[in-house]
């Protein structure tokens, strides 16, 4: 485990020698920003294969999975786009729309050239004719500088077009991204067809998270065996996680997949519960979950998934019910409002959670939530209702004792200060989707 810390000095982690054998840190060896000269000294130019298709076998052997949340095998999307003819598009997705995630922002700041290498190598692998970078902000100074320096050196096979994502939770979803790149609102579309078959302007479109592309750039250099020296058989390699703990600054950590969660999160009396996988993720009770590891095989046993790597240890002085209700209100407001069940169900679920988090509640509220949860699941064009329900149901299970306390007008928390981060203002008008 290696730790990159926002706004404070890096911490070193125990077990350094063993980690070194697995080659960690891989993505974040330098915590200061790497300019192109430093990047070329370390890695050399992007190892282009000379023609499309050649890198795909190595990516398949590496077992690389997407790091944006869905953990889909990367080679499969590459292969689908590669076998199409004509105009093809590749997009690096850096629109980290999960409010609690900071890893893509850090990656783009510290190693922009590794991400851009990955974008160009993926573009070559599928024979793309267009390359895009999708970001939550306008081009940052680091990105603008990297693109200019690369262009001056002639390193990039394709020019890169930057598109800014609106500050919405769903803006990074693949089909929403394609809609935004086409000039429309960043709202999800009904699929199929998948964007890898028919994406931007009808062209097959490869969308990969920026961290995924950085891993791809390293696999292209060091090979699949090197990549598989870390991680699990099913999910090789390392991943970036954003970690929240009591009494600690938010950290972006590069961890081997399969790392015990208790080495990343606190599990003592200062911790009330864990939230794994972000706001579409799963609350876990600490004593029962303490043996889990950071990989989808392990987490699936508890109905959880790695997601985009948001890991939270909620401090014991906070009310989990209050935190969950606050986030659910945000998720309801972030419905794209396109699908009836999501548009109608999520605000009702959010209001019910707010009632449960308040003092006393009507008897039927829990049954209402359960019924609405069933009604919205699987009935959206995207997974927003399903992810929201996973978050809500796990909260109701893990914080069941707290619900009983609140029903009697009590609360076990001693601090009212919000812990889980949310954007400052939640936009509501239609303009905010572009």
């Amino acid at each position: 485990m290696t730790t990159a810390v926002n706004e404070s000095a890096p911490e070193s982690a125990p077990g350094g020698a063993a980690r070194q054998a697995a080659g960690l840190p891989r993505l974040l060896p330098a915590l200061e920003q790497d300019d192109l000269r430093g990047h070329l000294d370390r890695y050399g130019p992007p190892p282009y294969r000379g023609q499309p298709g050649l890198l795909i076998g190595d990516i398949e052997t590496s077992g690389l999975t997407g790091r944006g949340g869905a953990a889909f095998p990367v080679y499969r999307k590459l292969a689908i786009v590669a076998r199409a003819r004509g105009r093809k598009v590749v997009v690096a997705n850096g629109a980290e729309s999960e409010p609690a995630s900071r890893k893509d922002e850090l990656l783009l700041r510290v190693v922009p050239n590794l991400v851009l290498d990955g974008l160009q190598l993926a573009a070559e692998a599928v024979g793309a004719t267009e390359a895009h970078l999708y970001l939550h902000s306008a081009a940052t100074p680091e990105i603008a500088r990297a693109l200019a320096e690369r262009s001056a050196r002639g390193l990039d096979g394709l020019p890169v077009t930057i598109t800014q994502a609106p500050p919405r939770f769903l803006a990074g979803q693949e089909s929403a991204l394609v809609n935004r790149l086409a000039g429309g609102p960043a709202r999800p579309a009904f699929q199929p067809p998948r964007v890898s078959e028919r994406g931007l302007g009808g062209a097959p479109t490869l969308v990969q998270n920026v961290e995924t592309l950085a891993h791809l750039a390293l696999i292209a250099r060091y090979g699949p065996r090197w990549f598989r020296a870390a991680g699990t058989d099913a999910e090789p390699g390392s991943m970036l996680a954003t970690v929240y703990r009591p009494e600690a600054k938010t950290q972006v950590v590069e961890a081997e997949i399969g790392t015990p969660l208790r080495t990343l999160l606190s599990s003592g009396a200062e911790t009330r519960a864990w939230l794994v996988g972000g706001y579409h993720g799963t609350w876990l009770p600490v004593p029962q979950a303490a043996g889990l590891t950071l990989d989808n095989d392990s987490l699936a046993k508890h109905g959880a998934a790695v997601g985009a790597g948001v890991l939270v240890a909620l401090p014991s002085d906070r009310c989990g019910l209050t935190e969950a209700a606050r986030v659910t209100g945000y998720l309801a407001a972030e419905s794209a409002g396109q699908c009836g069940p999501c548009l109608n169900g999520l605000p009702r679920i959010a209001a019910a959670l707010a009632e449960l988090a308040g003092p006393r509640h009507r008897q039927q509220v829990r049954a209402d939530v359960e019924r609405w949860a069933g009604l919205v699941t699987g009935r959206g064009a995207c997974h927003h209702p399903d992810g929201t329900v996973r978050f809500v149901r796990s909260a109701l299970t893990v914080f069941a004792p707290e619900i009983s306390l609140h029903a009697r007008g009590q609360c076990s928390a001693t601090s009212r200060r919000p812990f889980l981060p949310l954007p400052d203002g939640i936009p509501t008008s239609d303009d905010d989707w572009t």
């Binding site: 009904f190 396109q338 699908c339 009836g340 069940p341 109608n344 009604l375 009935r379 064009a381």
Partner: protein, 66 residues
């Protein structure tokens, strides 16, 4: 060839015509949006299913293979 009903939830605006024409396979939730039986359409309901698809004002109901 067995076919299955599928609603495009973005196009659907909850008119409810499908549930009226095909109550055997479509019910409405408490907000008026269709809940469609995910199993293949039985041969005996083939004609009614086609009628429901054709009658959807939002063109949101489709019959797909498999």
């Amino acid at each position: 060839m067995a076919q299955t009903l599928r609603v495009n939830p973005i196009d659907c605006s909850g008119h409810g015509v499908c549930a009226e024409l095909l109550p055997e396979l479509v019910s409405l939730d408490e907000w008026g949006y269709p809940i469609v039986d995910p199993r293949p359409v039985p041969a005996a309901l083939d004609r009614e299913a086609r009628r429901a698809v054709a009658a959807c004002p939002a063109l949101a109901l489709k019959l797909i293979r498999g």
